[in-house]
């Protein structure tokens, strides 16, 4: 089996990339990367494995944080949540889990499975169910392609573990997990039903940790060379720059538990005189210039600091911030007809069909995978 054993420098790159792929949401990677590096310093290892290398009947468990990011920065994780959840689920299933993965590569959840993996020495699959961030549990390529709804579960810092043994629909599962999360103080670690190696190979968005690493590596290289980090990101991702500008207006409000809002960007430099609006539902969903829609969900709209290439989340947006808005084609799996029902514009309440921006291409795995470790 080929593994990619992560170093602290890799964690820095992956964290930057997960921030960019977070499309404004997904939560901060800061705590996760601090914790990951502390675990590596304790002598633990984090090993990545490619989805195509998994045995077809391997059992793979998805892990990720659920809750309010604002709570997560205050009531920080205890650290053993994932281990308790994994063991509870293994007891319920009556068999061992072979590898972990993240449902959502965007934001802090791109790092979350690595922390538990380091503690129990399981590999992490270089794939996820979104290739970006989405607001709801059922918005994954796994659920779209029939991942079992149960068992699923939650664990909190205080030692509580909740296993959902039956849920009628993915949407109902999302509701149950939200209710459990609230009882747990609005921050918890979550898992959905275990998947087979074959299922993840077919329906996972491949090599998204690799993609995050490559984006982060490009940003750091550009910073070191005092070059434009955005050019590096575009070259790496196949994306396009929608606008370089500054935030001239930002409105946000909470509706039905989600942050909705609208951002207006006035162009700077070569884009002077142009204006772009970005509509927000926890993530950046739609970019328009005038009436014309330039990019729409599930294609990625990412916002980074013009100078550093650091991803800017929706909660950080404020008047006068100098940003680049870019757009990256969604992974192939998100653009299928069946996927668009769950993650296309209509799934977010828009009255129009998805029109793709650019050509989808799945990211290659980084060349760091080596025989055994």
């Amino acid at each position: 089996m080929k593994y990619w054993t992560l170093t602290e420098a890799d964690i820095d790159r992956i964290a930057i990339g997960c921030g960019i792929l977070g499309t404004g949401g997904g939560g901060s990677t800061y705590h996760g990367s601090l914790r990951a590096k502390a675990l590596l310093r304790e002598g633990k290892r984090i090993r990545m494995v490619r989805p195509e290398d998994m045995t077809p009947d391997a059992q793979i468990l998805g892990l990720g944080g659920i809750g309010a990011p604002t709570v997560g920065v205050e009531k920080i994780a205890e650290g053993g949540e994932g281990v308790r959840l994994l063991h509870a689920l293994e007891r319920h299933l009556g068999r061992k889990v072979d590898a972990l993965l993240g449902d959502e590569v965007g934001g802090g959840n791109g790092i979350a499975p690595m922390l538990t993996a380091a503690m129990v020495d399981l590999p992490v699959v270089d794939a996820d169910g979104m290739g970006r961030a989405f607001p709801e549990v059922q918005m994954t390529t796994f659920f779209i392609h029939g991942q079992a709804v149960q068992p699923a579960g939650l664990a909190d810092a205080d030692g509580n573990v909740l296993i959902v043994t039956e849920a009628t629909t993915p949407k109902m599962l999302e509701k149950l997990l939200r209710a459990g999360t609230i009882a747990m103080g609005c921050t918890a670690l979550m898992t959905t039903a275990p998947m087979s190696g074959d299922f993840v190979r077919r329906f996972g968005v491949p090599h998204t940790t690799s993609q995050a690493w490559s984006l982060g590596d490009a940003v750091l290289a550009a910073r070191a060379a005092k070059a434009d980090p955005l050019e590096a990101i575009l070259k790496q991702s196949g994306g396009v720059r929608l606008m370089r500008g500054k935030v001239t207006d930002i409105s946000r409000r909470v509706m039905a538990g989600f942050t909705r809002g609208k951002l207006t960007v006035a162009g700077l430099d070569a884009d002077a005189g142009r204006s772009l609006t970005v509509e927000i539902q926890n993530e950046y969903l739609i970019a328009r210039e005038g009436e014309k829609i330039i990019t729409m969900v599930p294609d990625l709209i990412c916002i980074v600091d013009s100078e550093t290439g650091r991803a800017i989340g929706t909660e950080e947006l404020r008047y006068g911030l100098r940003i680049d808005v870019l757009s990256i084609p969604a992974p192939v799996l998100l653009r299928s007809e069946i996927a668009l029902e769950s993650v296309g514009p209509r799934a977010f309440g828009y009255d129009f069909d998805f029109v793709p921006m650019g050509v989808s291409a799945d990211a290659p795995a980084v060349p760091h995978y080596k025989e055994d470790a």
Partner: protein, 514 residues
């Protein structure tokens, strides 16, 4: 009311004497290693210049980089024991995990994570573990740790456990300097804890510095209250500064921007502070500096202090000019050696100041030493400097519309005429001492940042509760209660939180109590 404002920078100590809103005198003197004697010299000089007797002064306000330098240099810091009230939570990231390896061993005095803390809704996370607190105190006593930082999960929602823990610590460790996180920072456990740690670590230096100021002032015959300026440009009484030195850590840029607002009467403008080495450009919004969205790094330690959003670049009076095919100005500078190095002062280096002298913008030194600098070249260099300011200015402006610009700082003699993108470019009287004037006119503020649930209450009542807490803090810090007004209130709806929870950050500001 007679006030003296003092700004202690890396190179110069500026002082200004004001009667009401009239600037009576300003002086510049050298910063000294002990800070205090330089401040005393500047105050003596400014009083002499205006022929005012020290006993007539009503208040002295000091802005100093002393505490910032202590952290940056890792000097004069004390060891701190950290008491985190967290129950089982947060243990994946123990205290000081994101401190730089250079500073951590200097400050680290041992951490205890014990039962305590509340949830976002104020419900108890874990009961306060009194036994564990006493055990930690015994350990700190054995190690002679002089300062303790106490930080509870969601302390801003309910600070009572921090207060209770502080009483226990005071009992076990009489004389220990105790810093409580709910008085220091904003939401975000690690960064608030870090700021609380820094504060505790600076406590001794705070007491010593304020004590030295007091004795120096007594020697000068000053018999008036002493204030220090805070990161947000407002004041805190000296006895408060002794306990919260960390609040003074980034007050420099704020003072000069506030001074610029005062000298021009403008409340919304760009402020361009041209010093000896760098130019700092920031934006005044409603009379106060626009702040950065991310928290400040202080000596490599992430905190959640809000500091002015200032863009700094290498252009100042000491910037080195290199003629040639493509002549350049800066970014390197002769800095504080300008009086020795500049050509016009008999030195060997062509500086931006020499260009200003050659162009006749200012009369300094010996102009005849600059006969080889052609008027054409001088004009070309001035235009280049102006253009570099204009580029940064355009990035900082909120929109393309022209806005007023205020030029302050000794180096602003380099800039002549209207800057592109501005409606007017002002260089007010006393522009060289805007920082000291900003300190002199500073007001008093109170700030609260907390997560509140709107369940069972109305938004208005919840907001009012936060504002009145901020008011109380302002009055405690020396504000005249009758003049306190709401300066800013920021509501952030919290996604995924039930019960319509919002985060409210409120700041009130008032005039100094006479």
């Amino acid at each position: 009311m007679l006030r003296i404002g003092v700004d202690v920078g890396g190179t110069n100590t500026d002082a200004a004497l004001l009667r009401g809103s009239d600037v009576l005198a300003t002086v510049k003197s050298s910063t000294t290693a002990d800070v205090t004697s330089g401040v005393a010299t500047a105050i003596r000089a400014v009083l002499a210049q205006a022929a005012v007797d020290a006993t007539a002064v009503n208040a002295v306000m000091i802005g100093t980089t002393h505490f910032l330098n202590a952290v940056v240099e890792g000097r004069h810091l004390e060891k701190v024991g950290v008491l985190r009230l967290c129950g089982a939570a947060t243990r994946s990231l123990p205290p000081m995990i994101d401190w730089p390896d250079t500073l951590r061993p200097i400050v680290e005095g041992g951490a205890a994570m014990v039962g305590g803390g509340v949830n976002y809704d104020g419900s108890e996370l874990a009961p306060l573990d009194v036994k564990a607190i006493r055990a930690a105190c015994r350990d700190w006593r054995a190690k002679r740790v002089p300062a303790i930082a106490i930080c509870s999960v969601f302390a801003l929602v309910d600070p009572r456990m921090e207060n209770e823990a502080a009483e226990i610590v005071a009992e076990e460790l009489p004389g220990a300097a105790i810093s409580l996180s709910h008085r220091i920072g904003r939401t975000g456990l690690l960064s608030r804890e870090n700021a609380t740690l820094l504060n505790a670590s600076l406590n001794k230096l705070g007491r010593e510095t304020v004590g030295a100021f007091r004795s120096a002032f007594a020697a000068l015959g000053l018999n008036c209250p002493l204030y220090l300026t805070q990161n947000d440009g407002t004041l805190m009484a000296a006895e408060f500064a002794e306990r919260y030195p960390v609040f003074t850590i980034a007050s420099g840029p704020t003072n000069s921007m506030r001074g610029a607002a005062f000298l021009t009467g403008l409340s919304d403008a760009a402020v361009i502070d041209v010093g000896g080495t760098t130019t700092d450009i920031g934006m005044l919004v409603a009379g106060f500096p626009r702040t950065r969205s991310e928290g400040a790094m202080i000596g490599g330690v992430p905190t959640n202090f809000r500091v002015p959003d200032v863009y700094s670049f290498g252009l100042g009076g000491g910037s080195i000019v290199r003629p040639g095919q493509q002549p350049t100005v800066g970014p390197d500078s002769v800095g504080f050696r300008l009086p020795q190095k500049a050509l016009c002062f008999g030195g060997d280096t062509l500086t931006a100041t020499d260009i200003a002298v050659a162009a006749g913008l200012v009369d300094l030194g010996d102009r005849s030493r600059l006969s080889h600098v052609t008027p054409d070249f001088a004009r070309q260099m001035l235009a280049q400097m102006k253009a570099s300011i204009e580029t940064v200015l355009d990035r900082m402006k909120p929109s393309a519309d022209p806005i007023p610009a205020i030029l302050v700082g000794g180096g602003s003699v380099l800039v002549e005429g209207l800057l592109e993108g501005t409606s007017v470019s002002l260089k007010p009287d006393h522009f060289g001492s805007a920082n000291a004037i900003g300190a002199a006119i500073a007001q008093v503020s109170g700030e609260v940042d907390s997560v509140v649930s709107l369940e069972g209450t109305s938004r208005e009542i919840a907001l009012e509760a936060v504002v009145s807490e901020a008011r109380m803090r302002a009055v405690e810090a020396g504000a005249d209660a009758d003049t306190v007004t709401l300066a800013e209130i920021e509501e952030t709806p919290l996604a995924y939180l039930p019960g319509n929870a919002i985060r409210v950050a409120a700041k009130v500001i008032g005039e100094l109590r006479a």
